[in-house]
């Protein structure tokens, strides 16, 4: 047995390139290489650049989610509210607009039997999240995170209200009040009419 165990160790060195022992090779009943480890995340701070371009400002951000299953929307609401709280976005209001039902009545049979029909309905449930005073970068990041984790069969509609300053070309009038602009007078129209006839 000693000879066989020693030869087993030699064979393991040939196959793996090192001596496979119980402690090193196996961890909790699984080989080390098969255990899932967290991928080491490189610090993202080096990758962030701050540009000179001014950030857009959103006075309000309204996210409306639509789905056929109310339980799915409840879970999604929990996810959205927790994420908003963690990231420090001010979630003003979460409310549930009333569901809408689309009904459809069709004939039950392929041919004749007009009195026998079948009714189908599509129920759409809604959930509305109202955010206020969010910057453009934050909105972009948060919305992308939310949208990537949108469950199957759920649609989203985002209404953004951005606020801006009055641009430079609207701040002062181009024309002075004293100069009156001469435009086409009614006399010209009658001249054109004469030409036509």
């Amino acid at each position: 047995m000693a000879a066989s165990s020693r030869s087993a160790r030699v064979l393991s060195k040939i196959f793996h390139g090192h001596y496979l022992t119980a402690a090193a090779g196996w961890h909790q009943g699984l080989p080390t290489r098969l255990i899932h480890t967290d991928p080491v995340s490189a610090s993202p701070h080096a990758a962030i650049t701050v540009t000179e371009e001014p950030d857009t400002l959103y006075q309000s951000l309204s996210v409306l989610v639509k789905g056929h299953d109310k339980a799915v929307l409840d879970s999604y609401e929990f996810f959205v509210t927790l994420a908003a709280n963690e990231l420090g976005l001010n979630l003003e209001k979460v409310h549930e607009p009333h569901r809408s039902i689309d009904k459809l009545t069709v004939l039950k049979s392929v041919h004749i039997f007009k009195k026998h029909r079948v009714q189908y309905e599509m129920r759409t449930h809604y959930r509305n999240f109202q955010f206020s005073r969010v910057t453009g970068s934050s909105a972009q990041v948060y919305l992308e995170y939310i949208q990537r984790n949108l469950p199957e069969g759920v649609a989203m509609e985002v209404t953004k209200t951005a606020i801006e300053r009055i641009p430079e070309h609207i701040q002062k009038p181009m024309w002075d009040n004293n100069d009156t602009v001469k435009t086409a007078t009614p006399q010209l129209e009658s001249e054109e009419l004469e030409k036509c006839t």
Partner: protein, 286 residues
Amino acid sequence: MAASIYLPMLEYFMYYLYQAVVPRTVKMAEDQDWTAVYPTAASFKPSAVPLPIRMGYPLKGGVSPDKQGNLELIKIPNFLHLTPAAIKKHCEALKPFLTEWPSALDSDEKCTEHFPIQVQTKDFVSSGASLRNPNARIVTMKVPLSSLNLDDHARKKIIKLAKERYCEETDTLTLVTDSCPLKQQNYDHAMYLLTVLYHESWKMEAWEEDKAREDMEEYEWQDSPSQRNVVELLERTKGTEERKKDLLSQPEVQEYKDAIVIMKNHGETEENLLRYKEAVKKLYNI
């Protein structure tokens, strides 16, 4: 000797057999990292979720079917990849990319004061044959006219040009553009319309000088028949020694003027009529 060569192969075979027969839930520790089990959205795997879940219409015995081979559990979307711990991890990674809202703009009034223009757009996310949604190109631009640099003539002209796009109650001009295929184009178009409206309203056309009393938007008491009547009345009662200016500067005349102007511009209400009655009585010294 032959048996010793096959020993590591037997070990591996036993290991893989063990994997197939015993589910992963048996080997899970209670303090394991759940984000490692469900790092991304995945369908429900009964051998990987250590919960005794039952779902579906009850069987003949009276209980819902077990999780093993249960299609109902696979069909519905699960949030096993979005546990609170996982969400917190994601948020920690996302925090450096967020920016703070400027602390000086803490109320809506301040926002409107410094940033009067409001641009409303919509984005849509849904699954279907096409990614596009035609309503995503619509841009709504709202501007309060009080924030624009307009004089009296320009203000009246811009309201006339805008017609139903101007709301009197909120004093906002609303421009809705959807004629271009892209959102950016529609935004540029809205900004262009605003620029044109602004500059055109400051222009004074030659034919605008022909504006008569009937074209005025509001009732003006100056040089109106009402003013002439009052002047005539006062001249007859008080004599012709006092000038017109002095007659008009009397407080009773001013009160009468206010009552008339309010009645003509805002309509006749009980309050307005009472004021008019009082003003007339004072004029006649009743």
